[in-house]
């Protein structure tokens, strides 16, 4: 019996329970004409019955599926001849169990199949069959039991609406905690892996070292793999690319926002705003090869004609393209906050004989400034976390340089390189990715918090 047939059965039971509960309530009230005697609408009694039929059974099923394998393994291990397990480490026992399971499901087995293992595998198959049947019966019994309980407790004075709404509220709390717990889980796993990294490499070296060369020697005589984890070149590279991006995005985005919200005719605005926002819809990988294949060679040949030495993958190319990608963020957020400045302030300024540009410079922009700053900070955190463009266009060499024509690398690029391909998961090289990720996360998180606080403060001013 497959688990999904059980789920279908439960859904069907819930549907039946809904109708039974609804009918039962009407009958107990004394017919369709006496519905007003019921505490709640009949549908609530139906939902009440459906919840009783479905929820406890689903809970039991979830628990059963979660625990079944553990219990099975314990039982099978206990039945193995003791001399087989003698002197085996935990890891070896795990392998043995895996082999038994593989044998039982007909997969490839890593060791010679002894009669004892054959027996254990057969027992495993048999037990699992029994367990699945037992689960079917238990879950179905609970479902029917829940339905009967709801049936029995349905009477006109029962507050079905309150109970259903209470149950729905609990469900919503559970679901929202799933989102929160997932975030928490990701953060904690990153934190713990980072701690393991900092056991091997001191935080001092990581945060203040100026040499980044994460290749670690696997053998003592290996050349060119020293394993240096100074992240400063990564931080400066990230900073440089982000600064170039913001130098492009802020003026263009802000000025186009001012034009669109204050000067443009309605038809121009209706056309231009969506077109600018299309920029936000272009996949970053497209920006990436645009930067690597179009912009970077262009800058290189431009630099060559001016007698400059430009790397074929330069920070400038990556930053310019990233800036273009971020324009819609800045312009759209700025447009919103400029539009949120009340018309009465504009009127007040015009009524004093101010021109439109005076009004924009002296009244609207100062009033909108906190919101614009918030928008720019959100754009910065986006730029810092951006990966695809820099992977393709900025390069991999961890140069500590202030020259935007050089190739630089960023935190995100290094995380990608550290984790691409086959890696061992306990070497400092791999764990370094977690430390970089944690740093990145903390920086963008604090930028977002600051940005949101600033934006919220601004909102309070006019509401």
């Amino acid at each position: 019996m497959q688990a999904w047939t059980l789920v279908v059965f439960l859904l069907a039971t819930m549907a039946v329970a809904y109708h039974l509960g609804r009918k039962r309530a009407i009958v107990r009230a004394g017919g369709a004409s006496r519905i007003k005697d019921l505490h709640s609408l009949p549908a609530y009694y139906g939902l009440y019955a459906a919840l009783w039929a479905g929820l406890p059974a689903l809970l039991l099923m979830g628990l059963w599926v979660g625990l079944q394998d553990q219990i099975l393994i314990t039982l099978v291990t206990a039945s193995l001849p003791p001399e087989m397990l003698e002197g085996l480490s935990d890891g070896r026992v795990g392998l043995l169990i895996n082999d038994i399971k593989n044998l039982a499901t007909g997969n490839i087995v890593s060791m010679d199949v002894t009669p004892a293992i054959q027996v254990a595998a057969e027992q495993y198959t048999r037990l699992r069959g029994i367990f699945q049947w037992a689960m079917w019966l238990a879950v179905a019994a609970v479902a029917i039991g829940g339905l009967s309980f709801a049936w029995a407790s349905t009477e006109p004075r029962m507050r079905a609406r309150n109970r259903v709404e209470g149950a729905v509220k609990v469900m919503m709390i559970v679901f929202s905690s799933i989102a929160i717990l997932t975030t928490l889980g990701i953060v904690l796993s990153v934190v713990f892996e980072s701690l393991r990294f900092f056991d091997q490499v001191s935080p001092l070296e990581f945060f203040f070292g100026t040499r980044w060369s994460p290749q670690i020697a696997l053998r003592a005589d290996q050349v060119g793999a020293s394993g240096a984890f100074g992240a400063i070149p990564l931080f400066t590279g990230t900073l440089m690319v982000s600064v170039i991006a913001m130098l492009v995005a802020v003026p263009i985005g802000l000025l186009s926002a001012i034009y669109l919200s204050e000067y443009a005719a309605r038809r121009v605005r209706a056309l231009a705003k969506p077109v600018i926002e299309v920029l936000a819809g272009i996949p970053t990988v497209v920006y990436g090869f645009f930067a690597a294949l179009t912009v970077a060679p262009f800058i290189r040949s431009l630099g060559a004609s001016l007698g400059l030495d430009v790397a074929s993958e330069s920070a400038l190319a990556a930053g310019l393209v990233m800036g273009i990608m971020i324009i819609p963020f800045v312009s759209s957020l700025s447009d919103d906050v400029i539009n949120a400045v009340p018309q009465s302030l504009r009127d007040g300024s015009y009524a004093l004989g101010a021109t439109q540009s005076e009004t924009i410079r002296r009244v609207i922009l100062p009033a909108a400034l906190p919101g614009i700053v918030g928008g720019v900070l959100l754009a910065v955190s986006r730029a810092i976390g951006e990966t695809m463009i820099v992977v393709m266009a900025a390069g991999l060499a961890a140069n500590l340089t202030a020259n935007p024509l050089d190739s630089v690398t960023t935190v995100t690029v290094q995380i990608v390189t550290l984790l691409t391909g086959d890696q061992e998961f306990d070497s400092a090289k791999t764990l370094a990715a977690f430390a970089l990720g944690l740093t990145l996360f903390l920086v963008t998180l604090s930028l977002n918090v600051i940005a949101l606080t600033v934006v919220r403060k601004y909102r309070e001013q006019y509401e």
């Binding site: 009465s344 009127d347 007040g348 300024s349 009524a351 004093l352 004989g353 101010a354 001013q461």
Partner: protein, 287 residues
């Protein structure tokens, strides 16, 4: 032609038929729209919002040193008319104004005239106090700064103080000029907006229901202030409160559905209205 004759007859005198030629469906205005010593003269003013006509052939003078109040039910066009007097309607899409509006014999809708300096001459106070989110001082200094009215900081300080004194706000705020104007009470904010308008020394001040967002005490203070300001400025005020019109104004104009129905001395209008519509409105039969 019958409509034209009907229009011209009661307001005969200074108005020529040509002034009214563009206006098609206007009603006659009862009473004398002219004054002996006008600051602003409006003749046959029509306003359209797109295809809808909001003001129909309105003619009205605003004299020097007088308060003219404009009353009438909601949507009668009194605010629209007021906003024509400093071309604030220019900022509204699809708004079209015809007819003649003159300030000191200069046509303010002349194609060659820049509306920006005009608005310094004809200031405006709005229904809801709208101080800038700047300090009290900066709120007042805003106008003088953009028009370059003062040469140095001391002159600007003086101007800020005189403006606040004229608006009766100086004593209340002199110790906190650097605090935000938005932190004042509603009545204080409105007086701040009046002080801001005075600071650019306008000739005319337009007030669009300046007390409708204020409590009775703040209203009384503003009304007293309006009476004092009459000494230096011409004032046109739109109000929904007939008591307010009676208290602050010398002349009253009654608007109805885009028409100027009746104009006269405030006392006459309230004690002895000549037009049926005016009488109905004043006695509270509608509106």
């Amino acid at each position: 032609m019958s409509t034209m004759a009907e229009v011209i007859e009661p307001t005969a005198g200074t108005i020529s038929a040509a002034d009214l030629a563009s206006s098609q469906h206007s009603r006659a205005t009862v009473g004398d729209v002219t004054v002996a010593d006008p600051r602003m003269t409006c003749r046959g003013v029509d306003v359209w919002y797109g295809a809808k006509q909001a003001i129909k052939g309105v003619s009205l003078d605003i004299g020097k040193h007088e308060v003219v109040s404009m009353i009438g039910p909601s949507g009668c066009g009194k605010s629209t008319f007021l906003r024509c007097l400093n071309r604030m309607n220019d900022t509204i899409d699809g708004c079209r104004v015809t007819g003649s509006i003159k300030l000191d014999d200069v046509d303010i809708y002349d194609a060659g005239l820049d509306p920006v300096p005009l608005r310094a001459q004809v200031g405006m106070v709005f229904q809801k106090p709208n101080p800038f989110p700047k300090s009290i001082y900066e709120n007042i200094a805003y106008g003088p700064r953009i028009h370059g009215l003062t040469n140095n900081k001391a002159e600007l300080d003086d101007l800020v103080e005189t403006s606040l004194r004229k608006a009766g706000l100086w004593e209340e705020v002199k110790d906190r000029l650097d605090q935000p104007g938005t932190g004042l009470s509603g009545g204080q904010q409105q007086r701040l907006c009046i002080a801001r308008t005075i600071a650019v020394s306008p000739e005319v001040i337009l007030m669009d229901e300046p007390c409708s967002a204020l409590d009775p005490i703040a209203t009384a203070i503003i009304e007293e202030l309006i009476d004092e300001l009459r000494e230096h400025y011409s004032i046109a005020i739109v109000t929904h409160s007939m008591q307010q019109a009676a208290r602050v104004s010398q002349r009253t104009a009654y608007f109805h559905l885009g028409d100027l129905i009746e104009v006269g001395e405030t006392n006459d209008i309230f004690t002895n209205p000549k037009h049926k519509l005016t009488e109905d409105y004043i006695t509270g039969r509608f509106g």
